[in-house]
Symmetry: C2
Subunit: 328 residues, 2 copies
C-alpha cells in the first residue's frame, strides 16, 4: 500500500505531520510506503535532512491555507499538495489520501479529480465521535450543506457499510437526527429521508433520534446534513472541553490537596474523548480513499490516520457501497 | 396582571404545576392573579380542596398529550387547557399564557388564535441557556423548522429586543449559527440571513459563529432555524448531564473519601445549569404573551415561569418589536 499524506495540512504544521508519519511506520507492512506531499525543503528539514525507509517525498509548490475558498484555491493552485496528491491517487500512484488541511479543498479535490462512486449522488464525511455511550459515526459533517433525502439515505448506507467493514460493528444501528422521536416530527428533509431509510431492509434503521440521545449510545450511525453535523460535532467538542475545565477548577478550589488526583482523572477523560484516536475521517462516496483529519490533529493523530487509511484500503469499503446502492 | 397557567401540562403533573403557582404568589403584586386552566377536580385536589387567594381556576375538559399532533389535537379538542387559555388571552381575560405541555400545540394555538404581531412573518421560541460563558438566548428552538432568511433575521431582532427589555442586556450581541466564522461558510439560508442582519444598523450583529463558540460567551443571542436550535439545546442538555455523571463517578471511585465534596460540587453545577431558573421561554412574534416551559419543569421552574411572564407583560416587548420591524 502507498498512503499519501499532505505534509502542508494541519494547524500544528509540517513537523507534526512528519513526526506522525515516522511513528506510523511501525504499523506498516514491509512493502507499505508513506508518501509525503508538500514543499520538499520544509519536509526534509522536518525529517532531519534525510529521507528514511518507507517514506517518500513528492515535491509540490503551492499551499492552500485553511481559510481559502476551496474551489477557487484548487483552481488557482494546481500544484498544491492537496491537488497533486489527489491526482496521484487518480493515476494509481497512491492508494489513499490523508490531509488535515482545508476541508473544503479536500472535498472539492476528491470530488472533481476522483469523481463519485457508481450510484452515489453526493459524498459525505463520516466523523467518529467518542461519547459517554460509546463511539458514534456522524455523517455528513460538512461535505454537503444542501442535502436532499437521497443524499442522507446514502449517508446512512455508506456509514453503516464502513462501520461494518472497517469497525467490525455488526448490523450498525442507524439513527436519523431530528427534533423528536416521533415520525411526524422534523422537517421535510427528515421525513422524506426516514421513508427511504425505512424502505431499505438491508439497513438497521432505528428511526429518529434527538439531540439528547447523542451521548446515550442508542445508535452507531447518526445521519444528518452537513450543516447540522458540523454544528453537532463542534458543539460537543466545545461544550465538553469548557465543562471539563470548569469542573476541574471548581474541584481543585474545593479540595486543593487533591489537585493531582483531579488532574489525573481529567487526563483519563481527555484520552477517552481525544479525537486523535480516530485519526482521520473517510469522505464516503468518492471513487477512491480520501481521509480528512481534524485541523488540530496531533502527532499521534496522524499515526491513527495512517492506520485508518490502511483499514479502508484493505476492507474494500467502496466495493460494498457500490454493491449495496446498485443492488448487486 | 392575570397570568394564565396550564395546569395539565408538564411531565411532572398537575401537583407540580399547582405547587409552583402557590410558591409564586409571594412574587406577585397585590392585585395579580394566577389563573389555572385544567380539570377542576384535579386542580382542586392538588390545592388541597380549597382555592387560596390570588389563584383562580378555569375548568377545561380536554387534555392534549405530549405526543399528539399539534394541529389535529387543537382542532379535535377545542376545550383543552391550551386552547381555552389562549382564547382567554384573546378576550383579554388573561395577560399571558404559560404551559409546559405539548410545545407544538402551544405554538399552533398562539399562532391560530392570537395571530402574529404586525410586521412579523413567523413566531420563534427564544430559549435561555446557561453556558460556561454565561447565559445565551437561542432563537428559534422549534417553532419553525422550515425557516427563510427573513424569519431568521426577525428572530435576531426580536430576541435582541427581548433581552434588552426583559434581561436588561445593553445592545445584545447577535451571532448567526453556521459551520465556520467566515462569511462564505454555511448554507444559502445562513448567507442570506447574514446580509439581512448586517444591513440592520440598529442590531449589534457580530457575524457567524460555530458550534464550538456556544459555551464561550461570544454573543448574547444565537440565531438559527428551529430544527438546528432544537438539536443544539437537547444536545447540550444531554451531553452536559451525561458528562457530569461520568466525571462524578470517576472521581468518587478514585477518592471515595471525598464523595460528599464531589457531590457538593456537582450540585453547584446542577444549580448553575438548571433550566428551571429561566422558567419559561417566550414565543416571540405572536400578538400576545405566550411562554413555553420545558416539559420536565419542576416546581421552582413554574415560579420562575410566572416571574418571567410578569416581566414580559411589564416591559412591553411586543411594542418594541413592532416599532423596530415597522420602522417607527
Amino acid at each position: 500500500m502507498r498512503i499519501g499524506l499532505d505534509a502542508m495540512g494541519g494547524d500544528l504544521g509540517t513537523a507534526t505531520v512528519v513526526a506522525g508519519a515516522l511513528d506510523a511506520r511501525e504499523h506498516l507492512a514491509a512493502d507499505d510506503m508513506i508518501v509525503l506531499f508538500g514543499q520538499e525543503d520544509v519536509i526534509l528539514k522536518a525529517l532531519g535532512g534525510e529521507v528514511p525507509a518507507q517514506i517518500e517525498i513528492v515535491h509540490t509548490t503551492d499551499v492552500i491555507a485553511m481559510d481559502e475558498k476551496p474551489v477557487v484555491a484548487l483552481k488557482s493552485k494546481p500544484n498544491s499538495s492537496i491537488a497533486v496528491m489527489t491526482k496521484a491517487q487518480k493515476m494509481g500512484e497512491v492508494d489513499a489520501c490523508i490531509s488535515a488541511g482545508n476541508t473544503g479543498a479536500c472535498v472539492a479535490a476528491a470530488h472533481m479529480l476522483l469523481g463519485r462512486l457508481k450510484g452515489v449522488e453526493r459524498p459525505g464525511i463520516a466523523v467518529m465521535a467518542a461519547t459517554p455511550g460509546g463511539t458514534v459515526a456522524v455523517c455528513d459533517c460538512g461535505a454537503n450543506v444542501a442535502a436532499r433525502p437521497q443524499h442522507l439515505y446514502q449517508y446512512g448506507v455508506m456509514t453503516s457499510l464502513y462501520l461494518e467493514a472497517v469497525g467490525g460493528v455488526e448490523s450498525p444501528r442507524v439513527g436519523l437526527m431530528s427534533v423528536g422521536e416521533e415520525d411526524s416530527k422534523g422537517n421535510d428533509l427528515v421525513r422524506q429521508t426516514a421513508e427511504l431509510l425505512r424502505a431499505d431492509d438491508k439497513l438497521n434503521f432505528i428511526g429518529n433520534i434527538e439531540g439528547r440521545d447523542f451521548p446515550k449510545g442508542v445508535c452507531d450511525v447518526i445521519v444528518c446534513d452537513g450543516f447540522v453535523g458540523n454544528i453537532i460535532l463542534k458543539l460537543v467538542e466545545g461544550v465538553g472541553s469548557a465543562l471539563m475545565k470548569q469542573v476541574a477548577m471548581a474541584l481543585i478550589s474545593e479540595m486543593p490537596e487533591q489537585t493531582e488526583t483531579i488532574i489525573g482523572v481529567g487526563e483519563k477523560f481527555r484520552i477517552q474523548y481525544d479525537f486523535n484516536q480516530y485519526g482521520a475521517q473517510p469522505l464516503l462516496g468518492v471513487n477512491g480513499i480520501w481521509m480528512i483529519a481534524h485541523g488540530a490533529t496531533a502527532q499521534h493523530g496522524f499515526v491513527s490516520a495512517i492506520k485508518a487509511a490502511r483499514e479502508c484500503i484493505s476492507h474494500h469499503v467502496n466495493d460494498h457501497i457500490v454493491d449495496h446502492l446498485c443492488g448487486e
